[in-house]
Symmetry: C2
Subunit: 125 residues, 2 copies
């Protein structure tokens, strides 16, 4: 790829997707939007995510200013995560996406079945 004659919008979208577009980030934001405040292992259990990915994801989200980390230097240690203002505003577009998903997942599944059936027909033809 030497070419870079794309629309500027694509760059923007690419940027935002590479920031908060990965599935774990989205899921963490959703979880926090439901529970207000969650601890590390609560999130881990809730999402079924590995420690590593949760750790990485939370660090990035904190770095991006979407999530606030509150650390209690007790023993054993306790860390709470919650959404920042911006994090909460992110729920809106995510919710839009979620609703679209709910509306269209069935249709997509149908389309896939149809497509796959046609493909296997082509093979047997």
């Amino acid at each position: 790829m030497v070419e870079t004659a794309q629309c500027p919008d694509c760059k923007r979208i690419n940027e935002v997707l590479s920031r908060v577009g990965d599935r774990w980030s989205v899921l963490v934001v959703i979880s926090l939007s439901q529970y207000e405040t969650l601890r590390f292992n609560e999130l881990k259990r809730h999402l079924g995510i590995s420690q590593r990915m949760l750790s990485l994801t939370l660090r990035e989200l904190e770095r991006d200013g979407l999530v606030q980390r509150k650390h209690y230097p007790t023993i054993p240690p306790k860390v709470e995560y919650r959404l920042t203002k911006m994090g909460q505003s992110f729920r809106e577009p995510v919710k839009a996406l979620g609703l679209w998903a709910l509306d269209n997942l069935g249709t997509i599944d149908k389309a896939r079945e149809k497509y796959d059936a046609a493909a296997s027909d082509a093979v047997s033809a």
Copy 2:
């Protein structure tokens, strides 16, 4: 991961993200929404995507029923891609995401700078 006690929503979101959540799919949809109809190499140049990924992405989008492929068996061959009804409806949540991105990318950049500065302070301290 043996655990699977997550919220059902997470599964849904995960599904939709793994379907149309990758950056190339989103960018293809956006391009098609702007240009109505595009040929293979037009998309390729427009997005700065490799043939391989464009080919895979278009096939998936067609399979999911978001993109319609029109093939003219001429020489040289000509193939046009356009959004289906569902593909067009997908623009809505994507647009919401794009607007949020425009509004918040600057803030995110600021947050990152601040975070990184604090991190390097911690190192030098």
